[in-house]
Every structure is written in structure tokens, then in C-alpha cells.
């Protein structure tokens, strides 16, 4: 990625982008643009941020992070898709793997039953 594309992607001021790019500090965090947000909602968060003496952006970042807890059904569906890509594991093998992982023991592979 050249400095121009980096500038456009990060939306940093041009000088700041060039500086970050030169130093190799290419750490891109996610960004979201929320359209059609009611002015009163924004004002509520702006006043709350002011009271806490930090920026509106920081306030919104905190609120979004605190609520980023996936639901149980979401987590279960994601885990199911991962399970579909692995083998069925018999109890002996599961115990051996668990022991190897937690106690540092060796793995005694058993044939799948």
C-alpha cells in the first residue's frame, strides 16, 4: 500500500498519514459511519462526554465496546460452523488431548470409535 492509498484509507490528515506511514506504524482500526442518527441522540452523548471530560468519539467507543457482547445463539451458531470442520472425537482421544494441553502430558492417540 502506498502512502496515498494509506492516506485515503485512514482519513488522517495528509501530514500525519505520511508520518505514520514512514514510521511503519500501519495499525488500522475499524471505523463505522452511522447515518440518520437523531440529533437529540448525538446531543445526549455529547453532553455525557463533556461531563466525563473526554471526546464524543471516546464516549461512543466506550458505549459500543461495553455492549459488544454476542448473544448465546450467535455464539452457538458460530461454534457449530467450526465443529463442522473438525473430526468426531472419541472420549479417549478427547481426554488425551485435554491432558496434553493442560498438564503437558503426551498424546496417546486412540483409533476413532
Amino acid at each position: 500500500m502506498d502512502v496515498e492509498r494509506f492516506y485515503k484509507k485512514t482519513r488522517l490528515r495528509r501530514a500525519a498519514a505520511a508520518s505514520v506511514y514512514r514510521r511503519g506504524l500501519l495499525i488500522l482500526m475499524g471505523q463505522v459511519l452511522i447515518r440518520n442518527l437523531d440529533d437529540d441522540v448525538i446531543e445526549t452523548y455529547r453532553l455525557r462526554a463533556k461531563r466525563k471530560r473526554h471526546s464524543l468519539e471516546q464516549e461512543l467507543r466506550t458505549v459500543l465496546s461495553e455492549h459488544a457482547i454476542p448473544s448465546g445463539s450467535d455464539l452457538e451458531a458460530e461454534a457449530e460452523s467450526l465443529r463442522g470442520q473438525g473430526p468426531m472425537v472419541n472420549d479417549a482421544l478427547a481426554n488425551a488431548m485435554l491432558d496434553a494441553g493442560i498438564s503437558g502430558g503426551s498424546v496417546a492417540l486412540q483409533s476413532e470409535g
Binding site: 459488544a68 457482547i69 454476542p70 448465546g72 445463539s73 455464539l75 452457538e76 458460530e78 461454534a79 467450526l82 465443529r83 470442520q85 473438525g86 473430526p87 468426531m88 472425537v89 472419541n90 472420549d91 478427547a94 481426554n95 488431548m97 485435554l98 491432558d99 496434553a100 494441553g101 493442560i102 498438564s103 498424546v107 492417540l109
Partner: protein, 147 residues
């Protein structure tokens, strides 16, 4: 005490987590804990244990590196707010380890369960063997007992 603390009924270990990602006889019961994570906590060391077990499966070519990595990422998202730093539990874990003759890192689970007045739910046999006949026996529940 946070609201999370008040809801905690179970301390879980890698033996509860790994069946989320690899089909085995304990998978259906372990998924009940995934659905009810608001009642669960774990000490920070669980991340290393889950990672180690997944790595063992990868080493034996039973799991691809990509799936192992995705599973670990999923675990971190799921347990994001449910992990207690091991440092907070270290002193008590050492005391328990002297009682149980079990290594201090493993006793972090007991220290957390004791602090939260929660059950340590596990299918890891050394935990059950270590507490047999001790005052800690009532603290440990076999994951299989929920079947």
C-alpha cells in the same frame, strides 16, 4: 462487586470450552454453558489452556490451523467479559496448591470458584482426583453429571 460477579454460578475450564469446537460426547452439555455464559467465569489462564489443547489437535492434524485460530478467536469474543486476571488469584491459588498437591496454575480455578462461591465445572480428571477426600471436593462438579 460487579453484576457479572453476582450472576456467577460456574467456573469453567478448557474441558468445557474445547467441546464447543470439536464434536464429542460432551459437546451437547458443554453448549449449555456457551448459551449461559452470563453465569460463568474463568481465570485468565484458561486462554492458555484452550490454546494448548487446540494446538495439540492441530499438531496431530485433527484440526487445521485456520479452524484452531478461528476457534480461539471465537473463545476470546465469547469470554471477553468473563475472565478474571490470574494475578488476582495467585496468592490463594498457591495456598490451595499446597493443600491439594496440584500445581498453582491449575489451582487458579479453585481460587476463583472459592471467591465467587461458584461450582468448578470440569471434565478434567486430575481436578476430580486432586480434591477427592478433601474439603475442596464439594467445590467441583463433573461436567458429565449434567448429562
Amino acid at each position: 462487586m460487579s453484576s457479572n460477579d453476582q450472576q456467577t454460578r460456574f467456573v469453567i475450564d478448557a474441558s468445557v470450552v474445547v467441546p464447543w469446537y470439536l464434536d464429542q460426547s460432551l459437546t451437547p452439555i458443554s453448549l449449555l454453558f456457551l448459551q449461559r455464559l452470563e453465569h460463568c467465569q474463568a481465570p485468565g489462564i484458561i486462554s492458555a489452556h484452550v490454546s494448548q489443547v487446540l494446538w495439540s489437535y492441530c499438531q496431530e492434524d485433527l484440526l487445521s490451523g485456520a479452524v484452531g485460530t478461528a476457534a480461539l478467536r471465537h473463545f476470546r469474543r465469547a469470554m471477553n467479559h468473563k475472565i478474571t486476571p490470574s494475578e488476582e488469584l495467585a496468592d490463594r491459588a498457591l495456598e490451595i496448591s499446597l493443600d491439594l498437591r496440584l500445581s498453582p496454575p491449575l489451582c487458579l480455578y479453585f481460587a476463583l470458584a472459592e471467591r465467587q462461591e461458584a461450582d468448578l465445572v470440569t471434565a478434567f480428571q486430575p481436578f476430580h482426583e486432586a480434591v477427592r477426600g478433601t474439603a475442596y471436593a464439594g467445590m467441583v462438579t463433573d461436567l458429565r453429571s449434567f448429562l
